[in-house]
Assembly symmetry: C2
Homo-oligomer: 200 residues x 2
Amino acid sequence: MIITISRQFGSGGRTVGKEVADNLGLKCYDSEIIAKMAEESGFSKDYIEENAENTGTAAWIGSGSYHFDLNYMPSNSDRMWAAQCSVIRNIAKEGPCVIVGRCADYILHDEVPCLRVYIHADEAWRARRIVEVYGETPIDPMRRIREKDKRRASYYRIYTDQKFGDARNFDLSLNSGTFGIETCAEIVSTLYRKLNGQEE
Amino acid sequence: MIITISRQFGSGGRTVGKEVADNLGLKCYDSEIIAKMAEESGFSKDYIEENAENTGTAAWIGSGSYHFDLNYMPSNSDRMWAAQCSVIRNIAKEGPCVIVGRCADYILHDEVPCLRVYIHADEAWRARRIVEVYGETPIDPMRRIREKDKRRASYYRIYTDQKFGDARNFDLSLNSGTFGIETCAEIVSTLYRKLNGQEE
């Protein structure tokens, strides 16, 4: 069984994923997915990191391919999505692990047994946290959060046809602002053990 | 701190609420709220039970009050909503307890410290469960579920201006089909104790 952690920007979902993996002795896939997507697609890691959650960047327009029927040309986003699906399916084949982000919940659902987790928190809590973790930037943290939320929601809607943040797409949703990151990781680990018949 | 349990029809949220209350030695409010709403509003218990989640029933049309400006006449739904808010605020004043349904999460949020829980499950799981718990009816269980979901979502949207089932409105959302009702109750109890500084 694979644990997928979907998360709001700034909610600490990535840290929850790492702690869960540590607790359970599993591998945690996060930035490694970007490296694998780069190998698979030919795009650079930097380009993927910058653009993978954009929709409709259509950066290939002007690449000389405008003689082809636009309707049949996959955009760079589409190509990255295809690489992402393939990378995540390959990771899943290797056995139990934790996968953070990248719509793994959607890609693997109905294919592999998954514990689908969603970590979220109130805007104010996340705004404080991103300043602590990533430092100040000229852009107001609340604005950074809202832009990222918007982009992620639109990306998720386009590629999965689901509303990001709907509890019904997950087995477990936790507010990290209410419980703290460590408790969230404990709960996920406890439930994973329970589902796998490994009582504590 | 008050525990509010919002739930999808057939998800076992009511049973989770009762078990949590038992575990923690708290009172669980459920059908009692209907009785209190009846006292407060003058509507009968049966009428409230049947109609409290309807929106815009406008049953008062034909009651002889059609000379008044329709815009200023609260509908029966509005009157029941007012009674519901008042009953739930009064219950909350009496101290820690578990409240199942009735938008208590929305009514009490920002007023009282709450642990807001949402219990949901896949349609097929809930369809099986409602037949087990409530018995067969001439209506297909899947249809019963979908109609109830639709009605509840619309009620929630009108009175709270929120999307029912959005994880971000809750501290904790659990799929009872994945974990089972008993485990859901354990998790809620554990987290409540933790938030109140009562480690197990």
